[in-house]
Point group: C3
Chain length 666, copies 3
């Protein structure tokens, strides 16, 4: 969604405050260049203290304040945390999951298909939307918050699941055969005997249940979008804050939601990107997460909203001076039109007391507020040149929930449930290091033809149709990089019983039928050497060239990396995982081969896009604690932050964690 | 409580014996100088095999034996382990806690507010007390054993808790506001909708529930004291064996009981101190634990009973020769009037088979018995000179259950639920290393005016009254050492929403509003350098002097340690944790500044006190496996163990793990 | 059981196949020299899709195929995995164990004493046996699969357990005394008050319950043997695939089954041996596991069946070329008459998808099939010379379920539930390294008189009768090696209350009453030195010679290893655990002392036996990745694989992972 300005804001919770501060806070916001707040998404019990008693006093106070101080407002539906009275009314609102019965307390502990929950949540959504729809400050709505099915295994959910299976497989024999349920006597020949799903040892069934859980999430979005749609103005948008798989920070695509499907119910995609800071800040999460968000509504609607990101964040995450500003521009450089912090003020009670906001607990302007103030006022000044950034990337990365689930059900050596995203990040982080920008694609929405190169993180689970399409893409002149385990199983995790990688073996020009964990094995290329890890397939080239064999006393006759010419295109296969430095050398060879240019000589991160005026804008981002000098790699332009001219090939200098943005004016 | 002799004894369990041994054992005890046994605290089912059938045969056998062999007896109430028939009668006697429903087997698994438990336990207490009260050998009673609420979350307890909350907060709005329950829709506007407490994400509520659990423990003490009081003789004392937070050994103050409140129901404080031995023996647990016990009845009644400590103990704990004797004197040096082992004989079945007593499983005198025999006979000989030791310490350490709970609910980087005690031990272990003796104080019983220096382990949770009192203490000439996070939140863990440390910032002369975990940060002072760990606040001095800034490329402008002159006193702040050697240098600076003398040149541990005759007694304790020579630091006196004279400045020599006690006779 | 040929085969699952392949597969098998399949043991739901509807179509297809292609068939009873309809019929079929209520999904999750399970499982067994008994290809039956009680703690089991206790102990006082139940008030004076066993803290009771669980396993074997016996032909054998305690591979004797008792219901013992490969392949698991299996039916019936072992196995286990063949001969060298892989084909769905068979998922001959083909055809050629191998070992190792349970209930420092088997493996792996072959013995079946040397892994729990018998064995000229903790407790884990090791102290010539964990302690012998670990007893020699004292500043006066002459024999005691190299030096001393010859100079593994023709056969096995040259240590003979003559003292050369078998023809 295009916007007429950059949004800069914070989540705001009047109801959490130790004392009334709306005027004070909004004044501070305006002074710092904030122009947006997000409210309401967690406070059902505040506005419906007892069943049916609605009181929007505090909501009105915030809206009045917002209008007074010129802040736009996103209103979230308060449905991800349920009131105590609702649980008293129907204890089954708290769901049962793989770990047993939930108790009250945490958010996101309810059964999203429980009828009681739906009835009262629906009423709340309507009351709220109706109440705020006419307020001028309200620019949009956020459906719920980081929505999932929370692993619901309730009786409602399981019954629904079996009903859908029954419809999909009218013939129980076909069902048992396809899912391999003769194994360990797990057959179901009478649907009424379908057992509790929670300890199934059949990964096809487990994966099917995870897919079901993603489907009810989609239906949940559709339901909320419908209710809000009854009241919302035409000019108000509908968004959602999608989040990510997580290892200490945003890691990769989320296993529990099909974001591409869910985003169909939205006007604009939003996301929550959290990352480490201090010496661990790299900017990689901002690009990875942003690239997913940018792809959710298709390449024609690339701009997205960062609805949550670190202010001070967790205790370990406190930023060094300069880092917040660097990150803000990194989001914009990637196509975001909004940078919104979670959250404005630090909270004085409860579990997120140490997830700090723009203001510390003393609620007075401190170091973080001062840095935000710089950002906010710069955004106001130069925002028109850098909003609605449009990308023309030549590399596309295919994301698949089914493959991700497959890699979770059958993980590699040590990466566990992150076995998919760890490879995805390996493949894309090296692109980042080489200043190659890339797009993401969902399986249902992909268009390979847009890209000179398509990258497959382990496409463990895929339909034959998709595999054939990839084959045709290469044959027709496309260039493919495929990671290990791609093409191994079908859409329900049944292994394809023929030559691996199934179908893809032709384009890749290889075959294998054995694999193991690498122990004492290395991969060498271009003068770099690194340990193989996680997984290794004993690949034999058929028509492919071996770029790197395994270095090992016994496995040395097999290939670790192969490159094949197939039809008009090229296909590279990575049969194991190894160091990023070695992969970078291999990428260089591949991209040189296919003639895809990149600038990995630069000591800074470079992002490019085209702005509303059709001008190219280049962002130089210094992700280091040292001052860096480098050469401008583009036509003459204007440095937007200091309004100086930058000549073609001109020298630039960035302070630690510094930023320079050059607009090439036509 | 003063005593007319040193007690030396062991817990005794006639009912666990593989064959009848009372005469044999008591004779061995008398020969070894034992004069005390503790009996009865775990054997309800022995004396009430079936409901209402009381049989005290074995009890009488022990009492008869004790009288024959001149042993004093402490009778414990057998209420911490329930009989099988009681659980059959009311299964709810086994409590529900945060981990779910308890099953039968372990001790301390019952619901102490269950009415059935109270009814039958009360009857047992009365029957037992009535039966033994007139026996001359019975000198006192022990209430229960290491009593807690065992995390009861039973329906009885939760209902009681909500009832008390309701009384405390007649206005639900005030309750919701104070506890911040709007957060994540957790409001309770109808007390009947109060949810199960066990998964609350509101740490204020969780802490309040822990406080409730400590309150019912206090009430449990009051109840038992009342029942015993119906029968006990005037000259019989009432005690309890308080224990400690635990990491492989006694660590610090216990989170689950307010020992100061519970001790009000007792005649004399008792404690269970367990510690590692062999190369890991330091004596620090004996001082830490003993100092807590010594403070429980106030400084006017300093003497306490060590009711349990290592005999052979756990497999890893077997003492080297000499260590048991060293420890026995260390207890006495600290103010104990009793050293009692757990336990006399090793047990032949069940979970504590490998927690060995004075006798090994062969039940014949071995190495441990022989060493005890030395101790017992020495105690008999010199006990009158070293009992009822009185201390005049100039340093006081403030202990707070609320702060401890706060640090458990919001732990630092890696110390988890021990985040409070780890700092408390850091602060006090360095005192120990410097031969500075110190007292403990409870929040409800403190008297700062007694001390030249008051030390605050992280006083995370504190009322404004307490913080103001600390401010006045410094202003009036007191000297304060405060650890990080002190003054951060109020008594229900709501963060104070103004300058940190709340109120204390004035006396400390500092402020901060940001903190993080230290990574690659060091603290340097007096030629020592060590890594900062667990927590670091970015402290800016206001009126204070920076003793040590952080050594770090970015955080170097903030202070790790500050010293402030305030009114007539001084206040030092430790904004992070670091190595003991560095802290020792900082302590030297501080104690020199305030003129508090100490003797940290000695290669041995030194303890001082005043005995019944008003004479100073100095204990020299060699906590090492090497022989040590050193100089007597006191007036001329008599070495009590070998009855030799020791001149002022005289040379002394201790063998490995050796002891020398000098009485300075007036 | 003697056989007329070597069996070589694989488990086969027609019902798991993605498409019909019986003909294809059996043809491939025959070509590769396979002559055996095992079928049916996991597919109850396939043949009884709905209660009472039996359909053996797929079974018949397999039997027809087997007969066409000349394969023998072992039919397993399909009772270790229950159908969904059975659980719907009686949810209690899924058992309750120490972790709570089982859900459907995994195998081996049922209550083997549940009457519903027994009723329907019994009917299935009879239907199946009746159906196949007359088929010529069916050579035998396998009862169930790796059977245990699966820790059942169901109401049926617990009631049964209490009933048996009541019968065993008519006097509750005697029961309480023997089990030490006065401890922590755990007495049971009314059998109706017997509490849930699951959280007992009384290890005697816990061990008794484990013994009960093993008893019902025995009864389960008896029950199945009886049902099969109604139908089976005289010439058909009855076997079972016993498995092993496990740490990443087969580790040692299994704690949950008395294999010696269970084997009484069988014609021939079988076993499942799984082990690591690649650089971690040592052959030790094949010998350890095989030696147990060889002993189960007594030394007169030594030959056993390896019913399952690695084909490709788990991902980490993929063999190097040559390893499969080496292992196949290692099994035969040890006395096996059958090598059967688990399994023929890799599975395309569910939890064992990555436990790969002879064929990979592509179901075409690959590297593994080709190597099997070599083995199968060699077996066909030379099998008659190496089947029915008979051993005359002079060393016997005593295995005890009770001792194993005791070491699990009271583990040593870090070995946890494996505390017994870790020592057993330490003691026997060094024998393996020295090329000393040994037998195993069960407590109920032992005959010490057969052996020149008896080795006791920690005989923690033993009757006085057994200890006396060991005493007499040594006195009469036997030679004993006893590990620490032997003789410590009686048959219900009650510690013997006199000099340790109980009774054995006389033969060993030592005593001790203290023990600890070794820290900084080493054991030195014969120029080797290694750290003591897990456990150390402070042993004082009485009549024994100290072979090695502890090397330590304080414990140095105690003995780590002692050797005693007693009557006509010798007894060695190992009071701690230490490095294998050091133990090997000590073994050398001991075996030299007692005159037991061995060949530990060889750089290869050597196995010896006598074949059907009464000829000695020597197997040379190269467990390394290097070529090895060595000298034939035997009379002149014929190398069976290449049919060359090998002279006495002749030079031999083995390639990496190579094998040479020399038959010394009379």
């Amino acid at each position: 969604m295009k916007t007429d300005k950059l949004y800069y804001g914070a989540a705001y919770y009047d109801e959490y405050m130790p004392y009334e501060r709306v005027e004070t806070d909004f004044k501070l916001m305006r002074e710092a260049g904030f122009n947006l707040i997000r409210i309401a998404e967690s406070t059902w019990s505040t506005w419906e203290k007892r069943e049916g008693e609605f009181d929007f006093t505090s909501l009105d106070r915030m809206l009045d304040g917002a209008e007074k101080y010129g802040l736009s407002v996103i209103v979230g539906t308060p449905t991800y945390a349920v009131p105590t009275w609702l649980v008293k009314l129907d204890p089954k609102v708290l769901t049962v999951n793989h770990n047993g019965q939930n108790l009250y307390g945490p958010r996101q502990n309810m059964d999203i298909v429980n009828p009681t929950y739906r009835k009262y949540a629906g009423r709340m959504i309507e009351k709220l939307t109706e109440h705020v729809a006419d307020r001028p400050c309200v620019v949009g709505y956020q459906i719920d918050n980081e929505t999932k099915a929370y692993d619901t295994c309730s009786e409602y959910a399981q019954k629904d699941f079996v009903g859908r299976l029954k419809k999909k497989y009218p013939d129980p024999d076909a069902f048992n055969h396809e899912f391999g349920l003769d194994y360990w006597s797990n057959r179901v020949d009478d649907w009424d005997c379908f057992p509790d799903i929670r300890q199934t040892i059949n990964m096809s069934l487990a994966a099917e249940y995870e897919k079901y859980q993603r489907q009810i999430v989609n239906e949940f979005f559709e339901w909320q979008a419908g209710l809000i749609g009854k009241y919302k103005r035409e000019d108000q948008f509908l968004t959602h804050n999608f989040d990510y798989d997580w290892i200490d920070q945003s890691l990769g695509y989320h296993p529990d939601i099909d974001q591409y499907a869910a985003a169909r119910h939205l006007t604009v995609a939003g996301c929550d990107i959290y990352h480490q800071c201090q010496d661990n800040l790299t900017g990689k999460e901002i690009v990875m997460g942003g690239n997913i968000a940018r792809s959710l509504k298709g390449t024609e609607q690339p701009n997205y909203l960062v609805l949550e990101t670190n202010a001070q964040g967790l205790t370990a995450w406190l930023s060094y001076p300069g880092q917040l500003r660097l990150n803000a521009y990194a989001h914009i450089a990637n196509g975001a039109n909004c940078v919104e912090y979670w959250h404005w003020h630090s909270i004085h009670n409860a579990i997120e007391t140490y997830w700090k906001g723009v203001l510390s607990h003393d609620l007075t302007p401190g170091q973080t507020y001062r840095e935000c103030s710089v950002i906010g006022n710069e955004f106001a000044r130069i925002g028109k040149h850098i909003k609605n950034m449009k990308k023309s990337n030549r590399v596309g990365v295919l994301l698949s929930n089914e493959a991700l689930t497959g890699m979770k059900q059958f993980p590699t050596k040590s990466a566990g449930s992150h076995s998919y995203n760890v490879v995805m990040r390996w493949l894309t982080d090296v692109l980042y290091d080489m200043n190659i920008e890339y797009d993401m694609m969902g399986v249902a929405d992909h268009d390979f033809s847009k890209y000179e190169c398509v990258i497959l993180p382990p496409l463990y689970s895929a339909t034959e149709e998709l595999l054939k399409e990839l084959d045709e893409y290469v044959a027709g002149g496309g260039n493919l990089i495929a990671a290990y385990r791609s093409g191994f199983s079908n859409e329900i995790l049944k292994v394809y019983p023929d030559t691996q990688p199934h179908i893809l073996n032709r384009a890749l020009g290889i075959r294998y039928d054995q694999f193991t964990y690498p122990e004492g094995v290395t991969v060498e290329y271009g003068g770099k050497s690194s340990a193989a890890r996680e997984w290794m397939e004993l690949v034999t080239p058929v028509t492919a060239e071996t770029l790197s064999p395994y270095t090992h006393h016994t496995w040395g006759k097999y290939s670790a990396v192969t490159l094949n010419s197939y039809g008009k295109g090229h296909a590279m296969y990575l049969a194991t995982m190894f160091g990023g430095d070695t992969l970078r050398e291999i990428y260089r060879r591949f991209f040189d081969e296919i003639g895809l240019a990149y600038d990995d000589s630069a000591p800074v991160s470079i992002r490019r896009g085209v702005n509303d005026d059709g001008n190219e804008v280049i962002f130089y981002l210094n992700y280091s604690k040292d001052e860096i000098k480098f050469t401008h790699n583009g036509e003459s332009g204007v440095s937007l932050l200091d309004e100086k001219n930058v000549g073609k090939g001109g020298e630039l200098c960035l302070p630690p964690w510094g930023v320079c943005i050059v607009e090439i004016r036509k």
